[in-house]
């Protein structure tokens, strides 16, 4: 036995704070203080050595482990339990009832039953008689409400007596059941309910009659469902059901159609064939569509890259097309132009005709007169036209310089518009793209036809570098020793200028100023003003380039040299009215022709002051020109719309052809030009229209080379012809009178 240390009370295992204490002396009379002390001591002294009092009862282990329960009760054990008191009434000692040590403050009836108790078991079994009876009582009659309330109140106030009463109820219920079945049970239950038996009886009497109906329902209910017998209430109800009604309708049936057909083997086959064909076609179309869109983007790219090339090419193509169209349109004329030879010329000796070919018109220059016509020296089908205006009274319309080609009669190849009228034009003999013009306002300009722009390559300054009057004629001169091109111009202010083209600039040099041989005339303010003539035309000697002829408005023709600025080499009193044109013979440079407004055309020889031939045409002669193919042929145009062609070899006095080319009343012919190669002449009028005419064979007779004799060139032949002619015309040299021989005297 392990030594134990206890103090005061023999306690077994240490630290016991519960009520369980080892059995020892003192038994149940131990107070809590002892235990507390023991605990304190135990905690202070943690040794297991226990000192046992000597008089402690020795117990075996089994007894030591025995647990003894301590109960706290209300009974005061110290109080004697058998106190008696002398009762004088009875004359004996009567026991005094023990004073209860407890005061009941509150008692609430509980509804919990111990599971093992009889009542609980009774309930669990499903025997709910007394409960049913209670419910039925409450439900079935409203009269019971007061009773119920009273019952409830009574329940609350009841003490243990009720509890006992319930037990009695159960018993009574059981008995009732045995005896009367339901009714008895109901009665028993009713009795148990209330305090007063009378009331209970009454209560029981009423419900017993009614109970059987009610309780009949619930005996058969489920075993386990335990509901609160006082509060639970089951009640069923049925809502109002709407009455049913039938409604019938019929929908519109889906639309129907008829279909008919026939099936045969050949029908099937044909259908397949057709469909196959359609399929093939579609496939082809798809292929084409794929190809085309591929080409289009490629084309666009190309265009973007090389628009210039294409535009040029397209231009060329369009040009060719235009020419083709023109050719087609004017097919007959084109044929005539080349191949027509007037057969009637064989029969008409000494007479020829002019076959009209095309008319060249440019819309914008319809109001203008043709002031100059020049064939291109290099391209025989190209000619330049100057559009200006001869009428000085009316306001000047805009002018233009156009290049036409015989291949396209509809539209000029090159158009260059100017603000003022262009009075003269000339194409450079060796640079066929350079064109110089002289304008109405006195300025000159040089154009390069090749350049795409419409601006002149260079232009004379409009203030200082120009003529003071209308520029009547311009002529290209021989290139300078440096190679610079230059040209001459003569104008109404009486000056002849030489313009040199130097790198976009024109530098002018005064060649000569036409002066009169008259004395200076006193001017308005008294100063003497030297009179100057107005030059109207200029022509260069074909071989001697320094020499040129100038025609003036006064009617005289001066032969000048570029070397001499103030001297005339010769003066020809040619006409009475302005000289419109002077032209050198293409074959014999000593011969030149002049035409004037005084109706006359005169042929001069260089050294002679008198004309060789004089022709009166009956109207102002606007222009005259020698033919390039013959030394004796020349043509003149007059203001009455006629073209006069002369061949001196054939007829010295009269023209071999006089033809009205344009309507006399409206148009006046202003210019004429021979084509270098072809037997074509172009004639310009004052309506802006140029007419091309073909010379009939009679007009272009050429000298036949003699069958015998040395082989001579055409030129020489022509010269010879001319010489012959001239020899006839020239005044015979005044024969020196023969010396008078003394006449024989015969008186």
């Amino acid at each position: 036995m392990p030594p134990k240390k206890t103090q005061g009370v023999g306690s077994g295992t240490a630290k016991v704070t519960s009520l369980k204490v080892v059995k020892g002396k003192g038994g149940s009379g131990k107070t809590t203080s002892d235990i507390a002390v023991t605990d304190e001591l135990d905690s202070w002294m943690k040794t297991k050595q226990m000192i046992r009092p000597e008089d402690q009862v020795e117990l075996n282990e089994q007894d030591l482990k025995e647990e003894i329960t301590r109960v706290l009760t209300m009974q005061n054990p110290q109080i004697p339990s058998n106190i008696v008191e002398f009762s004088f009434k009875e004359g004996r000692f009567t026991p005094v009832p023990p004073v209860t040590q407890t005061i009941l403050l509150l008692e609430i009836e509980g509804t919990i039953l111990c599971k093992d108790s009889d009542e609980a078991k009774f309930q669990l079994e499903g025997n709910l008689d007394f409960e049913d009876q209670d419910k039925s009582m409450k439900r079935n009659s409203e009269e019971l409400n007061e009773i119920i309330l009273e019952d409830e109140n009574a329940e609350k106030e009841n003490t243990e007596i009720e509890y006992e009463g319930k037990e009695d109820e159960n018993e009574i219920a059981k008995e009732g059941e045995d005896k009367q079945g339901e009714g008895g049970g109901g009665g028993g239950g009713g009795e148990g309910e209330g305090e007063g038996e009378e009331e209970a009886e009454v209560v029981s009497a009423v419900p017993t009659k009614q109970a059987p109906g009610g309780s009949a329902h619930f005996i058969k209910s489920g075993a386990k469902k335990l509901t609160n017998q006082f509060n639970f209430c089951e009640r069923g109800a049925l809502t109002y059901n709407n009455p049913f009604r039938n409604l019938e309708t019929q929908t519109v049936p889906p639309p129907r159609a008829n279909f008919a057909g026939q099936v045969m083997q050949w029908i099937i086959y044909d259908a397949y064939q057709q469909d196959f064909e359609v399929q093939q076609r579609e496939k082809e179309k798809e292929k084409k569509d794929k190809v085309v869109p591929n080409q289009k983007p490629e084309a666009k790219r190309k265009d973007l890259q090389a628009t210039a090339d294409i535009s040029n090419r397209t231009l060329l193509a369009i040009k060719t097309l235009e020419r083709m169209i023109n050719q087609n349109t004017f097919d007959e004329i084109a044929q005539d132009y080349r191949y027509w030879e007037d057969p009637s010329d064989e029969y008409r000796d000494e007479e020829g005709t002019l076959l009209p070919l095309w008319k060249f018109v440019y819309e914008k220059t319809k109001k203008n007169s043709v002031t100059a016509l020049v064939w291109n020296p290099c391209y025989y089908d190209l000619f330049a036209v100057a559009f200006g205006c001869f009428d000085f009274m009316k306001p000047q319309p805009e002018g233009a310089m156009c290049l036409f080609t015989l291949k396209n009669p509809s539209f000029p190849e090159y158009v260059c518009s100017t603000e003022t009228g262009v009075m003269c034009v000339d194409i450079h003999p060796t640079h066929p793209a350079l064109v110089c013009i002289g304008k109405y306002d006195g300025s000159v300009a040089v154009y390069d036809v090749h350049s795409p722009g419409k601006l002149p390559q260079c232009e004379s300054n409009s203030v200082t570098n120009k003529h003071c009057g209308v520029v009547w004629q311009v002529r290209w001169g021989i290139d300078m020793p440096d190679g610079e091109v230059n040209f001459f111009s003569v104008s109404a202010d009486g000056n002849v200028y030489n313009w040199v083209l130097t790198q976009h600039e024109l530098s002018q040099t005064l060649i000569i100023s036409l002066f009169f041989s008259f004395d200076p005339i006193p001017g308005p303010d008294g100063t003497l003003i030297p009179l100057t003539g107005c030059g109207t035309t200029i022509a260069f000697h074909p071989t001697e380039r320094l020499i040129f002829l100038v025609g003036t408005e006064e009617g005289s023709v001066y032969k000048c040299s570029t070397a001499y600025a103030s001297l005339y080499l010769a003066t020809y009193e040619a006409h009475h009215m302005p000289v419109y044109k002077v032209d050198y013979n293409k074959f014999c440079p000593d011969i030149f022709i002049s035409c004037s407004a005084d109706w006359r055309a005169k042929i001069w020889e260089d050294t002679r002051s008198d004309p060789l031939f004089v022709f009166d045409l009956g109207c102002e002669i606007a222009d005259v020109e020698w033919a390039p193919y013959s030394s004796t042929v020349f043509a003149a145009v007059t203001n009455d719309g006629k073209v006069h062609v002369f061949d001196l070899n054939v007829n010295k006095y009269r023209p071999i052809c006089v033809q009205a080319v344009v309507n006399r009343k409206r148009n006046r012919l202003t210019r004429i030009a021979f084509n270098h190669k072809l037997p074509i002449i172009i004639v310009g009028d004052d309506r802006g229209c140029i007419t091309a005419l073909k010379l009939s064979p009679n007009l272009r007779k050429k000298v036949k080379p003699p069958k015998k004799g040395p082989v001579l060139t055409e030129r020489e032949l022509e010269l010879m012809k001319l010489e012959k002619l001239l020899a006839l015309v020239r005044e015979p040299p005044t024969p020196t009178p023969l010396p008078d021989y003394p006449a024989p005297v015969d008186s």
Binding site: P254, R256, F259, A260, G261, V263, I268, A271, Y272, Q279
Partner: protein
């Protein structure tokens, strides 16, 4: 007329091309329905290539299940017909070079 496949078969007799792809001759149906039915027909005819009745039965029953009751089907190589049908529920097509199938609904 639309085609789903294009097949060419050269038969023994040279230079005769026989097309066997399904070719719709006349149709009243919606596009989707048409496609479905065509596939069904092709399946049925290929499966029961020797027995027209079985093919027709298969088609009819499937149609009834899918699109509602009372479909009618005719499968054959040579016949004439005159029918009443509910609108938008008719298909008349060729298949296999020699078969014609007519399907319609009429309750």
């Amino acid at each position: 007329m639309t085609e789903v496949e294009g097949k060419k078969e050269e038969t023994e007799t040279a230079k005769k091309i026989v097309h066997t792809y399904p070719l719709i001759r006349h149709s009243d149906m919606m596009e989707e329905m048409k496609g479905e039915v065509m596939e069904l027909v092709v399946t049925a005819c290929e499966k029961h290539s020797t027995n027209n009745e079985m093919a027709a039965r298969m088609i009819k029953e499937t149609m009834d299940k899918k699109f509602g009751p009372s479909w009618h089907t005719v499968v054959g190589e040579g016949f004439g017909f005159e029918i009443s049908y509910e609108c938008k529920n008719l298909l008349y097509m060729f298949f296999g070079g020699n078969l014609a199938i007519c399907i319609w609904k009429c309750s």
